[in-house]
């Protein structure tokens, strides 16, 4: 009893301390355990430890211990995207409360890793808030042999690391014509002349001319995966797959061949628009485009996302090097989809783009537009604590210049208050249900048994994929760790195969595709035909030879 009160106290303390309605690592762990204790379908276990020693929680929704065709939902890989973790947890919650859960789990299994990078959560809830993508690994961000020698400093003591702007003759930024709080690059073709230098908040501790270039950010797990790893880039790790989080997630993915597809709540989007096919990149030795049939699958899934689940207006967020979503497709051979999960509602963007009039958004102006849209949305929603207005501050590295501190509150742009997420989570749940319904279904014709002579029988059966999606990816046929379509005949004691293989392996079966198998079997009695693969489940038929 006492213990429980203490627990509640601690819990509420954790919430107020974080000054956020998001889950931190402790409350996440507690929440997941709570799910487990409340539902017989929910199991929670750790698939490894982060470099900071935190558990990487795996939540399994399953009705039996036998693996069924499964989806893996991951989130919180890049520490800047805490919103994904919140949505993943909401999704589990909604599914557990859902009426058709047991029907859904009769055929499928759902795996969740809601926080692949739990170390990064600490920064989000830190007393001093600064955006941090990485885990707890000590990193030398500027590769100078010294670790963390030039961190940020909170110069205006507001507990937030924002930006510094300095009026300087060499400055290239000006106040945005749309909103003076925002800074944009001066465009000389529009007669704009630069006014500000823009730096992050802090001093040049080591006096090397760079500001805050090394606060030892740790390794961004979403830059540490194997596909197109950005070697030597900041945050990518001392080498590819150097981090325990990366290895734990890949081990789990590779060793559970029943995982049909991976969904990631993260910084990238390939759902509202399907990956494009590039024949040259798809046929080079190192494949860098989705294969043709997989692109078709991607288009179908994209239509489920935008049409069936009506999830619209997602921003374009292209894939980045060494991320999990691409590695799951190109290297592990699974369908892999990623979405930011939440973004600024569209109406706002429209209003603003009409204000901007005919200016075509170019590379540089895309971001400010997003920022502007966010500011307008935040104003409409009465959100405070999203932007720190520019206020003068003394900067020791610029003693004779006007310096101001201000800018977006760390994490604000990507991570809105939790109350805005529920609706989007519900839509994503709907999408998942649509996806599960479209997954491959192995069906067979009734086996035909012909008595050829005396004790010799010919058995023929046709196997069909009646789902809307293929049995697995086209690229999966290149990967030895992907379970292949197998059709096998299991004989009883006095029987033998006269013609036909004990089992046939074949490539992925597309939607609607079928194949016929036949065997000549000597000896009467029962034979069992098994067909399928890990991502479809195995169908079993018993045939009587007589």
């Amino acid at each position: 009893m006492n213990k429980r009160i203490l627990f509640l106290l601690l819990f509420s303390f954790a919430l107020t301390y974080g000054q956020s309605d998001y889950l931190n690592y402790e409350s996440l762990s507690k929440k997941l355990k709570e799910f487990e204790s409340k539902s017989k379908f929910c199991k929670v276990k750790s698939i490894g430890k982060s470099s900071g020693g935190k558990d990487l929680w795996l939540v399994t929704l399953s009705e039996s211990t036998k693996p069924k065709p499964a989806l893996l939902i991951t989130a919180g890989i890049d520490g800047k995207h805490q919103v994904g973790t919140q949505m993943a947890v909401q999704l589990i919650d909604q599914l557990l409360k859902s009426e058709n859960l047991s029907k859904l789990l009769s055929e499928k299994t759902l795996y969740f890793v809601p926080s692949v990078n739990p170390d990064a959560m600490d920064a989000f809830f830190g007393k001093l808030k600064m955006e941090k993508s990485g885990n707890a690994t000590k990193t030398d961000d500027d590769r100078d042999g010294q670790i963390g020698e030039d961190p940020f400093e909170d110069m205006n003591n507001d507990g937030l690391i924002t930006q510094i702007r300095i009026e300087d003759v060499s400055g290239t930024y000006i106040e945005s014509p749309d909103d003076p709080r925002l800074l944009v690059k001066a465009d000389p073709t529009k007669n704009q002349i630069g006014k500000y230098l823009v730096l992050s908040e802090g001093f040049d501790n080591d006096k090397d001319g760079n500001f805050n270039e090394d606060f030892s950010e740790g390794v961004n797990i979403d830059k540490n995966f194997t596909f197109d790893h950005p070697v030597f880039e900041k945050g990518s790790g001392v080498y590819v797959a150097s981090e325990p989080e990366t290895r734990a997630l890949l081990d789990f993915l590779y060793l559970n061949q029943n995982i049909y597809a991976v969904f990631t709540f993260g910084m990238h989007n390939n759902l509202s628009e399907a990956p494009k096919y590039d024949s040259k990149m798809a046929s080079s030795r190192i494949i860098k485009s989705w294969l043709e049939k997989d692109v078709k699958t991607g288009e179908l899934v994209s239509s489920l996302y935008t049409e069936k689940a009506k999830i619209k207006d997602a921003p374009k967020s292209p894939m980045t090097k060494g991320n999990f979503a691409q590695t799951a497709y190109y290297h592990a051979g699974r369908l892999s989809f990623s979405t930011p999960g939440w973004w600024i509602p569209k109406e706002e963007v429209k209003k603003d783009s009409s204000q901007v009039k005919f200016e075509k958004p170019k590379k540089d102006s895309v971001e400010p537009n997003q920022e502007l849209a966010y500011l307008n949305w935040a104003t409409k929603e009465n959100l405070t604590n999203v932007f720190v207005n520019w206020t003068p501050v003394k900067h020791p590295d610029f003693p004779n210049q006007k310096a101001e501190v201000g800018g977006f509150v760390p994490y604000a742009l990507n991570n809105p208050p939790a109350k805005y997420l529920e609706e989007s989570t519900t839509k994503h749940k709907l999408f998942l249900e649509e996806f599960l319904a479209a997954m491959p279904k192995i069906e067979t014709t009734t086996p035909v048994v012909e008595k050829v002579q005396n004790d010799l029988y010919r058995v023929t059966v046709k196997v069909v994929n009646k789902g809307l999606l293929p049995t697995y990816t086209e690229i999966g046929d290149k990967i030895r760790f992907v379970s292949r379509m197998k059709t096998e005949v299991v004989l009883t004691k006095n029987q033998s195969i006269v013609s036909g293989r004990k089992y046939f392996l074949r490539n992925a079966m597309q939607a609607g595709e079928s194949e016929e198998y036949s065997w000549l079997i000597s000896g009467s009695g029962k034979v069992t035909i098994q067909t399928g693969c890990a991502t479809t489940g195995v169908k079993e038929l018993i045939v009587e030879l007589k």
Partner: protein, 589 residues
């Protein structure tokens, strides 16, 4: 009185030297020592055999016990089957700190069937320790450098190769089981030693339609008939049966993956690079080595021993990485590689992807490109060694091994053909080369090649950077300001940083620091005669120098307040070691 003390001191030190000499066992106890070999080693070894894991472990322990001031032994991790992966650290522990000495990393037997890499690694450790007192070059080498020798980095598989039935090519992998043929079953159809002799040899069957014949000169050898010649036999592959009755023989053996495709540089999945697993570092063995290398930034050179073919291989493993090797760096490889061709007749200096084949995710690329270490991989043994002449045949298709077997091994290299009744093939015959022939040296040739390869590697290690403060000058400027100028030279051919290293800042720069003086300004001297300098505004006392090239020098200058004669110039380089000189002492010289 004083004289007496001096005398006793002298005699004491003489005594200790001679005691040390006794320790080193340099005396010839029986007969006469052959030049080049330790006469009466403390750890007696015979280098005409292949050692198993227990023997390797014992050898390491014995070496540590006999030479505690030269050899340390540590486990850097556990293998998949939980064996310790041993690393011997070899250096003169009494001279300098080992982490301040340029390091040289050696490993053997990543492909476990390539037995002799482990023996060469062990021989090197043994020779260094046993020769420290008697061979001046080795003595100096161990004072200046540190060797890290991972004798076997695939211990499970080596144990499997030695103690269970295999052929010359199996147990190249580790022991982790994977489904090789995509049927969801694991290790369900391994090789089978039909006659129980420990060797997996070939199966042949008399056949009217066969295209193979027995070589009349060497009955152990089968050759393929050409043109309209009639054959007598069909070949049925390696010894084995269809254990799972799926119509395939030996299709799922233990661990068909390649530990040398499990490294973190340009790693690619199995459809690009056969043998790759989930990600670089899927295996505990490669992970242990990677951690060790990353945690020893002083490693400046490396060697990974393989067989077969007689090659000194340098990277890169893939053609697209060629541009990462600068002209200066290639010159270093050329210098060492070309000397190697002289030291070991029959061996060639090659570029991996160009002269052998493409390797993605290989170990030498990890060492060289991820860590900036100058690395060679020697492919031990070549058919050249059989008769000391170049073979006119291709790498595998020749009868020299049969001829060598007949006249020098007296038939010990092959299992004679014998009949066997096979459950699927009926009456067959099994026979062929033993598992430890062809790829691995015959005993009497092993020690010589171990020594020659060691010599190549010691030359490579000798050429890792050696930094010397060759000159310190002071010059009085106006007021109480003094300019201190120091010249630092790298007296070996390997630079402190490869071009690729400098470009990507793999290792921290060299730091040249003036300690014990008030530094006002610091700068690198680009050209003293023409007055060209580059000032370093931050931390002027610690000048950062990105690279000191092989046989090259740098000059730095500080302007200090007051008399700097008590100051010290310190050069700290991850791969080049740590040296320092007092300004006053250098001036006095």
């Amino acid at each position: 009185m004083k004289k007496y003390i001096l005398y006793s001191l002298l005699s004491f030190s003489f005594w200790s030297v001679s005691a040390q000499k006794n320790d080193s066992a340099s005396q010839d106890l029986n007969g006469m020592r052959a030049i080049g070999s330790p006469a009466n080693p403390k750890v007696p070894m015979s280098w005409d055999r292949y050692h198993d894991y227990a023997q390797i472990t014992q050898f390491c322990k014995d070496l540590v016990k006999s030479y505690p001031n030269l050899v340390k032994m540590e486990s850097i991790g556990k293998s998949y089957e939980n064996r310790d992966i041993w690393v011997l650290t070899i250096s003169d522990f009494k001279t300098g700190k080992i982490e301040h000495k340029p390091g040289f990393y050696i490993d053997g037997g990543i492909h476990a069937n390539e037995l002799q890499g482990v023996e060469v690694s062990m021989y090197t450790a043994w020779y260094l320790a046993e020769s420290f007192q008697t061979v001046k070059f080795i003595n100096t080498l161990l004072k200046e450098k540190v060797f890290y020798i991972a004798v076997t980095i695939s211990p499970d598989s080596r144990e499997n190769f030695i103690h269970t039935p295999n052929n010359a090519n199996t147990s190249r992998s580790g022991m982790r089981a994977f489904d090789n043929d995509g049927d969801d079953l694991v290790n369900e159809d391994k090789l089978d030693d039909l006659d129980g002799d420990g060797n997996i040899v070939m199966m042949r069957r008399k056949s009217k339609t066969g295209r193979w014949k027995v070589d009349p000169k060497y009955p152990s050898r089968m050759y393929q008939v050409r043109g309209d010649e009639k054959g007598d036999y069909e070949m049925l592959g390696y010894e084995g049966i269809d254990n799972d009755k799926d119509g395939l023989v030996n299709e799922d053996n233990t661990g068909t993956y390649d530990p040398n495709r499990d490294w973190a540089w340009n790693w690619q999945p199995n459809y690009v690079q056969n043998g790759a697993l989930f990600y670089p570092g899927t295996l505990p063995e490669t992970r242990a080595v990677k951690d060790f290398v990353v945690n020893h930034p002083n490693i400046a050179g490396a060697q990974s021993y393989h067989n077969y073919g007689g090659m000194f291989l340098r990277g890169p493993g893939a053609a697209e990485d060629d541009p990462l090797f600068s002209r200066q760096d290639i010159e270093v490889y050329d210098n060492i590689g070309k000397l190697g061709e002289k030291l070991i007749p029959g061996y060639n200096y090659f570029i991996l992807h160009k002269d052998l084949y493409t390797v993605y995710g290989g170990e030498i690329d990890f060492l060289c490109l991820t860590r900036g270490i100058f690395t060679f991989s020697n492919e031990l043994m070549t058919s050249y060694k059989l008769f000391n002449q170049k073979s006119s045949w291709s790498r595998w298709d020749n009868d020299e091994f049969n001829e060598f077997d007949k006249y020098l091994l007296f038939g010990d290299g092959y299992v004679e053909w014998k009949t066997f009744v096979h459950p699927q093939f009926g009456e067959i015959e099994v026979g062929g080369s033993k598992k430890n022939y062809i790829r691995n040296h015959p005993g009497f040739m092993l020690q010589e090649d171990a020594h020659r390869n060691m010599a190549f590697t010691l030359y490579h290690a000798y050429q890792t950077p050696k930094l010397e403060i060759v000159d310190i000058k002071t010059e009085k400027l106006s007021g109480d300001l003094v300019a201190v100028t120091a010249t630092i030279m790298n007296t070996r051919i390997i630079p402190t940083h490869s071009t690729h290293d400098v470009k990507n800042k793999i290792e921290q720069p060299n730091y040249i620091t003036l300690k014990g003086s008030t530094v006002v300004v610091g700068m690198t001297v680009e050209n003293e005669d023409l007055n060209l300098f580059t000032e370093q505004k931050y931390r002027p006392e610690q000048i950062e120098v990105p690279n000191i090239s092989g046989m090259g020098s740098v000059k730095v200058r500080w302007i200090v307040k007051g008399n700097p004669s008590n100051a010290t110039v310190e050069v700290s380089s991850a791969k080049g070691g740590l040296v320092s000189e007092k300004v006053s002492e250098k001036l006095a010289k």
